[in-house]
């Protein structure tokens, strides 16, 4: 049942975790990194007597989609796309280009890994993870109409090192244009709730967490706003909306043929290359995801059935972590008359 108090606690939580589009620190970190990349490329290429490749940048990920959350453990992540003005014909192996990025950025307190879809640069401060930047590497087609993302790791076989068609701008446009007004705002809140659940849950179990973009795209496909009319005004019911979305996700786990018969949740990217955003999850990770989603659904149902908003918020804290605010019981009750007890006898 709809609880206006639980809804206001969810909204307060959302304000607490939302990562502002205009977050100054992240913006500075990103700009510093891109400058370092430019200097590093110049240094490395000039040393070999070559002309450094020029690149432009793309804002990527939750930062650009306005779906980011501040991390509970303090390790921020920044996504950025780098588009090299090169031809795929000249550089058929994207791992070569990704290695340029790695070498250009190498430095103290920095750990750089070439991953399948990006180059991850992790910074350490006082021995602790501080933040990391995922750099996706792109190149355009010769007519500039199509974009390709560099896939593959250093130890990947040749067939797994490819420039895959991608449409990073198209995805951002789709997510940013999804729904309007209050519904668009609820869409973003629900994505952020899912991400904070993901962070809280998979941190505890140590299992591989579903990628943020996967949760975002799942919400893009299956989000249905739920509202309640209270005293003739329409109110958004985030708890019911999140519950309905989680139910949809669970209902879509199915057997399907993908070289092998596999039981998985398939979430298709709505833009090129239209691949499954969870394709890289193993069957074991899929099973864990399903189990955790079931637990989440049960907790959301219990919170929704709670009469006492304090108890409902205590359940939600187990889902979303310590940052979820629990109201003082005295703020949840109407003011009542002073008690006046009469002598009473029962027989």
């Amino acid at each position: 049942m709809y609880s206006p108090i639980v809804q206001s606690q969810l909204m307060a939580f959302h304000n607490l975790i939302r990562l502002d589009e205009e977050n100054q620190i992240l913006r500075e970190k990103r700009d510093q990194l891109l400058e370092r990349l430019q200097r590093g490329l110049r240094r490395d290429f000039m040393a070999k007597g070559k002309v450094p490749p020029s690149f432009s940048t793309l804002n990527q990920g939750s930062y650009a989609m306005n779906t980011g959350i501040t991390p509970a453990d303090g390790e921020f992540d920044i996504d950025v796309g780098v588009v090299f003005e090169i031809s795929r014909r000249d550089f058929p192996d994207p791992v070569v280009v990704k290695a340029w990025v790695r070498d250009a950025l190498a430095g103290p307190n920095t750990k750089i890994t070439i991953r399948n879809s990006c180059v991850t640069v992790s910074y350490v401060k006082n021995g602790n993870p501080y933040y990391h930047v995922d750099i996706a590497v792109f190149c355009p087609s010769s007519n500039g109409e199509q974009m390709y993302i560099g896939k593959g790791r250093e130890n990947s076989l040749e067939k797994s090192r490819n420039w895959e068609p991608a449409d990073p701008k198209g995805l951002i446009k789709l997510i940013n244009g999804h729904r309007k007004g209050d519904e668009a705002a609820q869409f973003r809140r629900v994505i952020r709730y899912l991400k904070s659940w993901r962070d809280e849950t998979f941190k505890k179990t140590g299992n591989a967490a579903p990628v943020g973009i996967g949760l975002t795209v799942a919400a893009y496909h299956w989000f249905q706003p739920q509202t309640r009319t209270v005293e003739k005004t329409q109110q958004f019911d985030d708890l019911a909306t999140l519950r309905a979305l989680v139910k949809q996700m669970l209902d879509r786990f199915s057997d399907g043929f993908l070289g092998l018969w596999e039981y998985r949740l398939r979430v298709a990217l709505p833009v090129a290359p239209k691949t499954d955003v969870f394709a890289r999850m193993s069957l074991k990770q899929m099973k864990d995801l399903e189990t955790e989603l079931k637990t989440l659904l049960a907790s959301l149902s219990r919170a929704g059935a709670e009469v006492d908003p304090v108890a409902a918020c205590e359940i939600l804290r187990t889902v979303f972590g310590q940052r979820f605010p629990i109201p003082k019981p005295s703020t949840t009750g109407k003011r009542l008359a002073a008690p006046s007890v009469m002598p009473t006898s029962y027989s």
């Binding site: 206006p4 108090i5 209270v230 949840t332 109407k334 009542l336 007890v341 009473t344 029962y346």
Partner: protein, 156 residues
């Protein structure tokens, strides 16, 4: 335990209140009747009530096998203390008492007592909740100022 009112609102007997009450079940011949107050919140923006706390028999009360008489003084003191410390949000919602039957129902005299409470001065609520604790089950009734008394259905 959660019960449903006829207007759709719900009443929750929260664990601390429930545990205190359940401890007084008259499960054998030797156990004396007991009773006390139901104290709790009317949840803002809803028709829901939460019984957060129950007072239990105190030294001035009279406890017999088939009768219980509550002396107002000490119960009033505990109720006032809670009401004050909760900023006036944890108030008197009704009372409870025990029966020796397994599945309790109000006696004629219980109904008279309930009705008299809603007619007494000062009337602070259009209705009150009453729990009867049987030896096996527990029931919740809502009594209104217009003499209507309803047994509330258990939701879970």
């Amino acid at each position: 335990m959660i019960f449903r009112q006829s207007n759709g609102g719900r009443v929750k007997l929260a664990t601390p209140a429930l545990e205190r009450i359940q401890g007084y079940r008259q499960t054998d011949e030797k156990k004396l009747a007991a009773g006390g107050l139901l104290l709790g919140r009317h949840v803002k923006g809803t028709d829901d009530y939460v019984v957060d706390w129950a007072t239990v028999p105190m030294m001035r009360d009279t406890r017999q096998r088939r009768a219980f008489a509550l002396d107002a003084f000490l119960h009033q003191r505990e109720a006032e203390k809670l009401w004050r410390s909760s900023g006036g949000t944890c108030g008197l919602l009704g009372d409870w008492h025990t029966h020796r039957e397994a599945d309790p129902s109000p006696s004629r005299s219980d109904l008279q007592t309930w009705r008299s409470k809603l007619k007494g001065e000062p009337v602070t609520s259009p209705f009150l909740f009453f729990v009867i604790v049987g030896s096996e089950r527990l029931g919740l009734w809502q009594a209104f100022a217009n003499n209507r008394v309803e047994r509330l259905a258990l939701v879970n």
